[in-house]
């Protein structure tokens, strides 16, 4: 596109009919992505051909078909690996992985943690509806303990993953959380993720109206949202609540919710979010906060710089090539011990 072309969300909409159930949280996420990419394009000077959307299998993984970008709808669980290959093959691309809680954390758990460990520069949007949507309602690795689903008629007996904990445990450098209904926040986080070099994981709490309706509603419903979630931003105080009178402090080795102006706590006592802190301690606590004990943290929880896999691969190749004696296959074939038959 022309240098000063301004992309609009419309530029990112494909001609394919969107086939998610009416009321599915995926619609809102799609629209957040289509709103975010023009902003990313403007911020980073990316043209549309630079974006690649890679997914696995699941309702959420249909996503690439609805984008007018390059797209790869892979196989169940393997999106992280496919996306890794795309990025290493051409590090200039802006690679986005779309994945469900089953796709990323059950069948694809291994690829997910290894992509994060390598810190390959891809952006992973994890649609967490705590259920297998596409296969019609079996529990997933994020389903709450005791959840009644088609394959757990008496309730699950297994402990769920907390995606943030898993990401940080795998040495993740970028973890953020949003909710499907907050298109504005999702858009804001996506732009941050795009700017971050390295694996970015955005967990999006998504509602599956058909098989797990209202699983997140305790925190996402409009009337309670401000009291039950906390949107954190780097450099800002961690306050929340309708009246913005509640905040987080560090008490001993744990986080604690206090009311500002009560019990002797003032704004000065409230923690300021440092998303750039390499030490994952507070980030882990923030990521693990669960309602009702805590508000659920939204926003960019962790955003730490480190070298990326794709840069390291490229640099190593360039480095070795600089002093290389072997410059062609002919050179290679003649390297080492050879002899002449005359």
């Amino acid at each position: 596109m022309a240098e000063n072309y301004k992309y609009t969300p419309q530029d990112f909409k494909s001609d394919q009919e969107v086939k998610w159930c009416p009321g599915c949280g995926d619609h809102a996420i799609l629209s957040a992505v289509q709103r975010a990419l023009p902003e990313v394009s403007n911020a980073l000077n990316y043209d549309i051909e630079r974006y690649v959307f890679v997914s696995g299998i699941g309702c959420s993984s249909r996503f690439p078909y609805y984008m007018k970008t390059f797209g790869f709808h892979g196989i169940h669980g393997r999106a992280s690996a496919i996306a890794t290959g795309v990025k290493v093959a051409n590090p200039k691309l802006s690679v986005w992985q779309i994945t469900g809680d089953g796709d990323a954390l059950a069948i694809g758990g291994n690829h997910f943690i290894h992509a994060i460990r390598r810190n390959i520069d891809i952006n992973i949007l994890l649609f967490n509806n705590e259920i297998y949507g596409l296969t019609k309602g079996q529990y997933s690795p994020t389903s709450k303990l005791g959840a009644i689903t088609k394959t757990s008629p008496f309730g699950t007996v297994e402990h769920p993953f907390r995606p943030g904990e898993l990401v940080i445990g795998a040495q993740g450098k970028f973890f953020a959380r949003s909710i499907d209904v907050d298109v504005k926040l999702t858009t804001e986080i996506m732009v941050e993720a795009a700017k971050h070099d390295g694996t970015s994981v955005i967990e999006i709490l998504q509602n599956c109206v058909i098989y797990n309706d209202k699983t997140h509603s305790a925190i996402t419903d409009k009337e309670n949202r401000e009291d039950r979630t906390i949107v954190i931003r780097h450099g800002e105080k961690m306050v929340f609540g309708k009246n913005r009178d509640k905040g987080l402090i560090l008490s001993g080795i744990s986080l604690k919710v206090v009311t500002i102006g009560e019990g002797g706590f003032s704004m000065d006592d409230i923690l300021t979010h440092d998303a750039f802190a390499p030490n994952p301690g507070v980030h882990m606590m923030l990521a693990n906060m669960e309602y009702p004990e805590y508000p659920v943290a939204l926003g960019v929880i962790r955003n730490v710089k480190d070298s990326t896999y794709d840069d390291n691969v490229r640099d190593q190749v360039l480095d070795v090539m600089k002093t290389a004696k072997i410059k062609s296959v002919d050179d290679l074939l003649h390297s080492g011990e050879t002899w002449e038959v005359k």
Binding site: G74, R78, A89
Partner: protein, 617 residues
């Protein structure tokens, strides 16, 4: 030194080096083979090592062997049985005595034949010769360990390092017996231990002392010489094993296509060296990714193929199983990809370090759905280069995944290789879509190859989506239309079948018609050729039809088969290729010779089988 000894001329000899896995037998054998190749002989090697890195010392399970066959004329196998066996301990003798030709020579390190050593090797008496019934063999008990200690007592090396040189003493003895020059091996020490002059000197001294010792003892009555060949084509040569040749063939295809090479892979015996060789080649821009498992290995490669690299993935049997689903994805997305499977004994973990050809069906059919794929097989260590190149060419030009089958035997076996020149290799022209092409249709095809075209992300105007769901015949959008699925299934099959038009016709060694056509494929070539040559020398009407192109089969196969009274399919599995041929050409009657012992065929058993089939037994 050897004044009073007789020098006898031989045209072919087989030597087997064996010892504990820690005794350095692979290196010793390689040095002997390299020295012989440099001397101008034809050589063929067979490493035979245990899967345990360090099995209990001195036990039969820890024995590592390396067989070298050298000849004046072209040798195509490492030999069934050896003329000379070097056994560095009682276990090595026990494990390998059965591979020595009747009356052959056996050199043992006498110092290891003590009570403990014999016991560990499982001997019940203190007379291993009697126990193994080797009375009619020329067994030479040499005090190899002690002579090595004596030789190096002033070297300044510690005792452990000194003892470690004993394999070179043995090598020196073999050099004497077979009249090999020492200079090549001395040069090897100089390069290998560049920073350790004392180690260079020590090795040289031991080698020489072993050489002289052999010259002085009465037990070695004669020495032998294997004249260098005058028929070897002129040119520059090197040694190469199949895995290295495979890796280099991929790099060659990358160079000829102008696309960077990407390999996503997970280590597995005996395929790991392909990844290792590629990992070394950062100088040629090769990107290797050691993935978290085989699934990620192939999926990263598929991603890289989508993004415009020449992508390959390397593995062996169990890894191929893990890759199956993703191979289907590559078929469905019609992306170029080479999957090299270095076959080993199966099923399951099976015989990790031993050779077999039992993954043929898996390569042909081991996927869900109608999922045809090009399958080709290399047949010698050095032609792994050619077939890796060809696999890349077919994959990229026909936009299809290709399975390249090799096996543990050719992957680890080495042979001298007349170094080819890249200018003699054809160009590779993948159907890459130019930037800015308007109205790009991902699944539109060229008429000649039926290949769709390849549009790289990052190129303007080519945005499109691919994936594992069935796609519309032209547009590539998701389609569940019944007729479309039939059409797509048909065209994917037709595309693979079309490769037939681009591969060479099948050739036959021997007569164009006759009593018996021996059929083989892949890594059994050397043994089958040698056996067919042998039986033809006896005047029998036997020919060899050895396959490299398996799916699709060359055009003229049926025509060839019709010219022989009998057909015998020989393979290291229970009859997979025979059944495949039965399915394709039902009008012929196929005799089979199958073996799954983790070992190559022997020429003796092949000739025996040919005779039986000829006699109608």
């Amino acid at each position: 030194m050897s004044k009073q000894k007789q020098v006898l001329e031989l045209d072919h000899v087989v030597v087997r080096f064996s010892g504990d896995s820690g005794d350095g037998m692979q290196l010793t054998g390689t040095l002997f083979s390299d020295a012989s190749a440099l001397f101008g002989n034809s050589v063929c090697t067979f490493p035979d090592y245990p899967s345990e890195i360090r099995a209990p010392q001195g036990t039969v399970s820890g024995v590592s062997g390396f067989q070298v066959s050298i000849g004046t004329k072209k040798v195509n196998t490492p030999g069934d049985y050896c003329d000379v066996l070097i056994a560095m301990n009682p276990a090595a003798l026990r494990a390998n005595a059965k591979w020595v030709k009747a009356g052959g020579m056996i050199i043992v390190d006498a110092d290891t034949f003590n009570e403990k050593g014999l016991q560990r090797a499982g001997f019940k008496t203190d007379n291993p010769i009697e126990e193994l019934k080797l009375e009619d063999y020329k067994v030479i008990f040499a005090d190899i360990t002690n002579l090595t200690k004596e030789s190096l007592k002033d070297s300044g090396l510690d005792m452990k390092s000194i003892v470690r040189c004993k394999n070179m003493f043995a090598l020196g003895m073999v050099y004497y017996i077979f009249d090999r020059p020492l200079n090549y091996t001395e040069h090897y020490y100089e390069v290998k231990f560049k920073k350790k002059p004392e180690v260079i000197e020590a090795n040289k001294k031991v080698l020489k002392d072993g050489y002289n010792y052999a010259g002085n003892i009465q037990a070695i009555a004669n020495t032998y010489t294997i004249p260098s060949s005058t028929t070897i084509p002129k040119g520059t040569y090197r040694n190469v094993n199949g895995n290295t040749a495979t890796a280099w063939g991929f790099i060659a295809a990358s160079e000829k296509s102008g696309l960077p090479l990407f390999c996503g892979s997970y280590p597995i015996t005996p395929a790991t060296e392909v990844l290792i060789e590629l990992a070394k080649r950062k100088d040629l821009g090769v990107k290797t990714l050691q993935a978290e498992d085989e699934i990620a290995g192939i999926c990263t490669s598929i991603g890289a193929a989508y993004a415009g690299n020449f992508a390959v993935t390397s593995t062996s049997g169990p890894g191929l199983s893990l890759k199956s689903e993703a191979m289907g994805l590559a078929v469905m997305t019609e992306l170029p990809l080479v999957i090299v499977n270095v076959q080993r004994g199966g099923p399951s973990t099976g015989l990790p370090t031993k050779t077999e050809q039992s993954d043929l069906f898996q390569a042909l059919y081991g996927r869900n759905g109608e999922c045809p794929m090009v399958v080709i097989a290399a047949s010698t260590p050095s032609n792994c280069f050619d077939f890796a190149f060809t696999a890349g060419k077919i994959a990229m030009e026909h936009m299809t995944p290709v399975v390249l089958l090799t096996d543990g035997y050719i992957a680890n076996g080495t042979e001298p290789w007349k170094i080819p020149s890249m200018k003699d290799f054809p160009a590779i022209n993948p159907p890459i879509v130019p930037e800015g092409t308007e109205g790009y249709m991902p699944y539109a095809r060229d008429e000649k190859r039926l290949a769709r075209s390849w549009a790289f992300p990052g190129k303007k105007g080519l945005e499109h989506r691919v994936g594992g769901l069935e796609k519309d015949f032209i547009k590539g959008s998701v389609s569940h239309d019944p007729i479309n699925h039939q059409k797509m299934t048909d065209i994917r099959a037709a595309k693979v079948e079309r490769v037939k038009e681009f591969i060479p016709e099948q050739d036959v060694f021997g007569d164009k018609e006759g009593d018996l056509l021996v059929i083989g494929w892949g890594g059994t070539y050397g043994h089958l050729l040698t056996a067919v040559q042998k039986i033809r020398e006896e005047g029998k009407s036997v020919s060899l039809c050895h396959f490299n192109y398996i799916n699709p089969l060359p055009k003229n196969v049926k025509e060839i088969f019709g010219h022989y009274k009998k057909i015998l399919v020989c393979e290291l599995n229970m009859g997979q290729f025979a059944n495949y041929l039965r399915m394709n050409f039902q009008e012929f009657n196929y005799n089979q010779f199958n073996k799954v012992q983790g070992l190559p065929f022997t020429v003796v058993e092949l000739v025996d089988k040919f005779n039986k089939v000829l006699e109608g037994k």
